[in-house]
């Protein structure tokens, strides 16, 4: 068994490719999350009123909260299928470090749920009257922030694996942990929309991503071991 650095990361890549193939076969799941995001965002003008100034003001918060909810909704899929058919148990026993397998799975999850949100966000931002610079920052913050959501959400998904009512429970566990991402993400867009610098927000968001990348997979692996032992 090759255990060099390249060998280890190739394991991550294999999992990533496998999960992406599986997701490709169930494309409706991917679209459901995306449609959820679009619908939730579109509900707000109906609830708040079509006043463009108001909408422009609340747009960053709405888009970010909707991204949070959409990501959270998709977390159940992260490990459940592999748990049910026993693949997850195999992964635990494989010579690959579990945290690297988790990293591959989370990367696949982000590509399937987070990335479409990033691509869709400027369109929705336009509906709320956001300007060009704000739209750019919105995409950028989602690009940095949604991986954090996937990484942190994976911990919650691992902890609630196989539990009854896991969906509601996972939101209770994960949403409080999403708050910093929400604050810095929406804050950056808001700052740019009102003509201020967003550099500090973006650096803090980047720091969160680094932290989540360093510790997330490792903690998730520990949580999976606890849930499966």
């Amino acid at each position: 068994m090759e255990m060099s650095g390249i060998g280890l990361l190739s394991g991550t890549r294999n999992i990533l490719a496998r999960d992406l193939t599986l997701a490709g076969r169930r494309i409706t799941d991917v679209l459901t999350t995306l449609f959820f995001f679009v619908i939730v965002v579109s509900l707000f003008p109906l609830g708040v009123g079509p006043e463009m100034n108001t909408l422009r003001m609340i747009a960053p918060g709405i888009l970010w909260v909707a991204a949070l909810l959409a990501t959270m909704l998709s977390l159940g899929r992260l490990f459940t299928a592999d748990y049910i058919d026993g693949t997850l148990e195999q992964m635990l026993l494989s010579p690959q470090p579990l945290s690297l397998i988790v990293l591959g799975k989370v990367a696949a999850h982000w590509l399937v749920t987070g990335a479409p949100l990033v691509l869709m966000s400027p369109l929705l931002g336009l509906q709320f009257g956001l300007g060009g610079a704000a739209l750019g920052v919105l995409m950028l913050t989602l690009l940095i922030g949604t991986p954090v959501l996937s990484l942190v959400g994976a911990m919650g998904a691992a902890l609630t694996l196989g539990l009854r009512g896991g969906g509601a429970l996972i939101s209770l566990l994960v949403l409080p942990l999403y708050i910093p991402v929400l604050i810095f993400g929406a804050g950056a867009v808001e700052a740019v929309a009102s003509g201020l610098e967003a550099g500090a927000h973006l650096s803090l968001l980047g720091a969160l991503l680094v932290l989540a990348l360093c510790f997330g997979p490792w903690v998730t692996a520990a949580a999976l071991r606890i849930s499966l032992e």
Binding site: L172, P176, L177, I183, V219, S227, E229
Partner: protein, 247 residues
């Protein structure tokens, strides 16, 4: 000292110790509460700015302190339980959570009742109130996860890990909420700012904090005894305890 520590980390020997200690902490809590209330209501002067309404501080601030302190202690025990695999620490973490959530709620409730006359609103999105609200969510998550898992070993380990994740995130959340609050400068006025606190006020507050602390220990020790009895109900020593204590 080290020997004692290991001796009392076994549930069977901790059970009687906790039983002996709990009443004393209860008595201490009652005495300290009476002292604190006396100081708070009869010795501490009326605040020149807030009038008598400020007297809520004597439970609001101690409850807020305890809510954060208990979360830290809970995470500490959860970490001990995960690393050293000691069952007693997991029981302690589990027993601490309801009292921690209670103090979090009390601090929110008293904060609202204080905010109404001072800020003119039951709730303002002040950094500290918001952080307390998030802390309440963290407690609720911990308790719910524990309740959702049937296997006691998995419940203890999973919620232990969650407590640790929460403890690492609390500073990040607190910092981000502070940041968010300073960016959105609203009508919020810091509660402690403005009037310099008289020494007697501070004393009363510290005494009440101590009272809450003793109360927490008394309640948690009693609750942890229940946990021990429930989990170890098949063991011989529980049989003895049961036949002795039910007479």
């Amino acid at each position: 000292m080290a020997l004692n520590w290991f001796k009392y980390s076994s549930p069977a020997s901790f059970y009687p110790l906790a039983g002996r200690l709990a009443p004393w902490f209860g008595v201490a809590a009652a005495l300290l509460t009476l002292t604190g209330l006396y100081l708070g209501f009869f010795v501490a002067p009326t605040d020149y700015k807030q009038g008598e309404a400020y007297r809520i501080i004597f439970i609001h601030v101690p409850a807020a302190w305890m809510s954060m302190f208990i979360y830290l202690v809970m995470a500490f025990y959860a970490g001990l339980g995960l690393v050293f695999n000691t069952r007693l620490s997991a029981f302690m973490a589990r027993a601490l959570a309801p009292t921690g959530a209670l103090f979090t709620f009390i601090s929110l409730w008293t904060g609202a009742l204080w905010g109404k006359p001072m800020w003119g609103a039951w709730w303002v999105w002040d950094a500290r109130l918001t952080s307390e609200l998030i802390l309440l969510f963290l407690y609720l998550g911990f308790i719910s996860l524990q309740a959702a898992i049937e296997d006691p070993r998995r419940a203890a380990r999973a919620s232990g890990l969650l407590a640790l994740i929460g403890a690492v995130n609390v500073p990040i959340i607190y910092f981000s909420v502070q940041w968010w609050n300073t960016l959105h400068q609203g009508a919020s006025i810091s509660m402690s700012q403005g009037s310099a606190m008289a020494a007697t006020m501070l004393t009363a507050m510290l005494v009440m904090t101590l009272a809450f602390w003793m109360y927490t220990i008394a309640v948690v020790l009693t609750r942890v005894r229940c946990e021990i009895l429930e989990r170890e109900r098949h063991s011989e020593w529980v049989a003895e305890v049961a036949s002795r204590e039910t007479r």
